[in-house]
């Protein structure tokens, strides 16, 4: 079996309004989402009929009510964009879901297109607020007062892979990968033992090993079984344990290495025995030690640091690819993974151009050194927040990027393309192009369907159960040959 070839991410952003004593996050989110102008996508419904977030991968369904807003509320909260992404209001946060992509470089491009979408919407929405008020958006995962919001990664895997194998082999990986993809945070939350600075924004919030929940008692492995594709063939592994990264290198490793590890799991290429005892405790202990020296108690192999556990996965991946063809992006991810792990073992502070938690820590240490202040100083807390600000003139990460002080993976041109064009090699192409070409006739959208309003006729829903169909190669010519949506629907349905 090849690598999992379809992936995407969903990122919730922090939102606040400066100088608004009656700040209401939900109405601010609605304003924000509606201020982003994307040509014809303004009046398209999100098709909730196709969703079932209550199905559990362990084979049962949980009782509960599905969320189904009325039509007006639906349109006000959901925008499907012509690049195939979804920009919407999720509870009390603005959220951006990338379109489905087939490689991690493109995933970075669409995640970063999301950051810019949020910033453009923020500027447009702020103009409509009373004088002196300003919307602020942060790509972070905690308010440092015990409230967390997510970064969810999605990877398409085969239904044939037993879910218990996924849980067994991915848990030690997810507990330890924070050493290269944590976003860093001052202090602790959620009744965790105090510390000055920790590796992950989210680790304090994980309370159980495996479960369906995402909002309370958060699990390291989430069991939501909603493939948004052919159920017989696919699962969508929904990983909720990660932080939102600003650094392109960190996003590249987080998603690239996870893709590699999933390929190994699907092919049975990871030996048993890497289990960590008390993973819920370990994920916090690892996070609370920015020297990366904490040793986890393993089920069978004594004690190991997070970096050593990662090195075991790396060894397994090197063995796996020694007898297989490897594409250039995957190879590049492997090389970088190996280098980053050896630097983490030596001295993590060497990674101050690549890894978010190190970049931020180094910045704060420089600031404390110069000003003679400590971790408890309000300006350090401010830096902790402002690192994640999406404004190019205010965000500290973006300031470092502008100064050339952090490493890039992709170019600005790739981000600009990703803002206006869908990926060409997944069904997102069909979704995005239909919105661009026939937006006023698109009635509703979900990841695996698109429906059209053809005037007097009943609504026509086109199912897209195969994430790798509806590509440019597959439907490009057809779209070019159909001047009207009626022609397109006729072609597809007859």
């Amino acid at each position: 079996m090849p690598l999992p070839s379809v992936m995407g991410s969903e990122i919730e952003y922090g939102i606040t309004v400066q100088n608004d004593r009656d700040f209401d996050p939900i109405s601010s989110c609605v304003l924000l989402v509606n201020c982003y102008q994307d040509d014809e996508s303004a009046e398209i419904l999100w098709d909730y009929d196709q969703e079932n977030p209550l199905a559990d991968a362990r084979g049962f369904s949980v009782e509960g009510e599905k969320y189904t807003p009325n039509q007006q509320e639906n349109i006000a909260r959901n925008k499907t964009l012509k690049n195939g992404a979804r920009f919407y209001v999720d509870h009390a946060h603005p959220e951006y879901s990338t379109p489905e992509v087939t490689n991690v470089r493109e995933l970075i491009a669409y995640e970063r297109a999301g950051e810019r979408t949020l910033e453009l919407a923020r500027r447009a929405a702020t103009i409509l607020l009373p004088q002196g008020q300003m919307i602020l958006i942060h790509k972070n995962n905690s308010d440092r007062k015990g409230n967390s919001y997510g970064n969810h990664e999605n990877y398409l895997i085969s239904r044939r892979t037993p879910f218990k194998d996924v849980v067994e082999h991915i848990t030690p990986y997810l507990v330890t990968r924070q050493v290269f993809c944590g976003a860093g945070k001052v202090g602790t939350e959620n009744r965790a033992q105090p510390c000055d600075y920790q590796i992950s924004q989210r680790a304090d919030f994980f309370e159980t090993e495996v479960a369906l929940d995402t909002m309370v008692k958060r699990p390291i492995v989430n069991t939501r079984d909603e493939p948004h594709a052919d159920r017989e063939k696919y699962r969508r592994l929904h990983i909720i344990v990660g932080d939102s990264n600003l650094s392109e290198c960190a996003t590249y490793l987080r998603t690239g290495v996870t893709g590699i590890v999933l390929a190994l799991i699907e092919d049975g290429a990871i030996e048993s025995g890497l289990g960590i005892r008390e993973p819920v405790r370990a994920i916090k202990e690892i996070s609370h030690d920015p020297e990366c020296r904490y040793e986890c108690q393993m089920e069978r192999r004594g004690r190991m640091t997070a970096v050593q556990v990662q090195q075991e996965y790396l060894e397994a991946a090197l063995r796996y690819f020694s007898s297989r063809e490897i594409d250039p992006v995957t190879k590049d991810v492997m090389v970088r993974w190996e280098r980053v792990l050896s630097k983490l073992a030596e001295d993590p502070m060497q990674l101050d151009r690549e890894i978010d938690w190190v970049i931020k820590r180094k910045l704060m240490m420089g600031f404390m050194d110069r000003k003679g202040v400590d971790w408890a100083h309000p300006q350090i807390a401010m830096m902790d927040l402002q690192y994640h600000d999406v404004r190019p003139d205010k965000g500290l990460y973006l300031l470092l990027e502008r100064r050339g002080a952090v490493e890039r993976i992709i170019s600005d041109e790739e981000i600009e393309q990703a803002m206006v064009h869908p990926p060409t090699d997944t069904r997102a192409y069909f979704r995005g192009e239909c919105i661009r070409r026939y937006g006023s006739s698109v009635f509703g959208v979900n990841w695996d369907s698109i429906s059209f309003n053809l005037g007097e006729e009943p609504i026509k829903r086109i199912l897209m159960n195969e994430p790798l169909k509806g590509t440019k190669a597959h439907v490009g010519e057809l779209l070019d040959s159909c001047a009207t949506v009626e022609e397109l629907v006729k072609h597809i349905t007859t």
Binding site: G14, T16, R144, L363, G366, K394
Partner: protein, 84 residues
């Protein structure tokens, strides 16, 4: 609920309007070449250390300029609802 139009064609331009470098980065490639020619290893190390300190100093100056005022109040008021 509708805002002023903000078409994508103009998006990149708008982005860069706010994305212009505020300062030129100190210590470019030319300096590095000069260091290499000067030969002495210890001297080079010392120079590199100075450059790094200078770079950090100029970075902290810039952070001072952009860091939100009233940090204590700002951070205290930053409260989010749990999500996901």
């Amino acid at each position: 609920m509708r805002a002023t139009r903000n078409p994508d064609a103009a998006a990149a331009q708008i982005w860069y309007a706010a994305d212009q470098p505020q300062k030129q980065k100190g210590g470019g490639g030319g300096d590095a070449d000069a260091d290499a020619a000067s030969g002495d290893g210890a001297q080079k190390m010392a120079k590199k250390g100075e450059d790094l300190k200078e770079e950090m100093d100029s970075l902290i100056d810039e952070i001072d300029e952009v860091l939100e005022e009233n940090a204590e109040e700002f951070v205290k008021n930053y409260v989010q609802r749990g999500g996901e």
